[in-house]
Symmetry: C2
DNA sequence: GGCCATTTAGATAGATCGTTCTAGTAGTTC
DNA sequence: GAACTACTAGAACGATCTATCTAAATGGCC
């Protein structure tokens, strides 16, 4: 079955978009890395690069959301989970020479003003992350409003930290952003427990 | 004097890089918007697009740093200044159809893994912002370590909020990140005043 | 006016982009 | 084994990219 060719293409595009964005990645490069011919790309993605791009964003974003969910699952203490997630993100950056950060942030910034389909794909991913995180935080006894605010501030901190860490080649921003998120979450949880 | 042609080119590239990144912006588009011919570009920037790119990043980053400095100058109360800055950023997003966010974040994410000169330009800008902010926070009586942590967390929150706000076409992330930064700053200041 | 460096102007080159095209191979079903 | 679908394979195309090139206009200085 050639079904794994499609997945190889999506894996390659996911990695490349993450490192150099959509515009900076040619279809030839994607196919070379996937070991697939042109024919396969336009067989699996009749819409060409833009269809591949949108599907890559949704898939990579979904997988990254799963990863986050594993760290902050219902069976672990929330603040420690978040702490571990940021620590893991910092370690990944170090191990990959500051290449592997958020899988969709580069594409989101590049394309949001010029390609509505791509913007929507990114927006759907961010919304799913926010909604998933909010539900988890509500389980801890926070109001929906407080939970949503905390989740958004955490994702903002993470995304911004990736921007700085990649440019500075330092994990300090990720670590500082992680500390800030953990502190905010602990403060909110202890305040909620006080009533 | 044709000196303003160079500035018109830098203005155009600054705006375009901010919206669609380095890879997504062609030199033809830059020159068309600046109303300048090819000859001028390679006269003022013999190194071509990459030299223009690096200079654009440094210039746009410097100007944005000035803007931040105006909001958080020594004559205004720090937390209110930061609050006003985030509010201003949100308003700018709304007014520009979510186009005008950070002038260098897109380029930083796109290029950090593939072009060392461009990465360095971005890193220099971020470092200048961090150092400038840290000095300002130290004036308020915070330790250098605390000050640096707060500034980095604030910039991370801002940059990440831009990513989300642009994709979601909503100012909520910028507002939430602003609240988080203000809260962290006020907490640190009141703690420092307690001794 | 004559001279010289600076800047403008755009045609052109050569590489690379995404896409299309035709042809061929594998695998399944009748 | 014939017919059909799914997929592979890569040459070729037109568009677009950055960069180069030659020639001319411009502006201060003697």
């Amino acid at each position: 079955m050639g079904n794994d060719t499609k997945e190889r293409i999506l894996d390659s595009s996911g990695e490349l978009f993450r490192r150099q964005g959509y515009m900076g990645t040619g279809v030839k490069q994607i196919l070379a890395e996937a070991g697939a011919p042109f024919g396969s790309l336009y067989h699996f993605f009749p819409g060409g690069k833009s269809e591949l791009g949108a599907e890559t964003v949704r898939r990579s974003g979904f997988l990254y959301g799963l990863l986050l969910g594993e760290y902050a699952g219902p069976e672990v203490e929330l603040a420690s989970g978040i702490r571990a997630f940021f620590a893991g993100a910092a370690e990944t950056l170090r191990e990959t020479d500051y290449a592997d950060a958020c899988p969709i942030a580069t594409v989101a910034l590049e394309m949001s003003s010029s390609d509505e389909e791509m913007r929507l794909a990114c927006a759907d991913v961010f919304e799913a992350w926010i909604d998933g995180g909010t539900a988890r935080f509500v389980e801890e006894g926070l109001s929906a409003e407080t939970a949503r605010g905390l989740v958004i501030q955490m994702i903002c901190g993470l995304e911004g930290a990736f921007v700085l860490s990649r440019a500075l080649r330092s994990t300090e921003p990720v670590e500082r952003a992680g500390e800030a998120s953990v502190a905010a979450i602990e403060a909110a949880l202890s305040q909620a427990a006080d009533r």
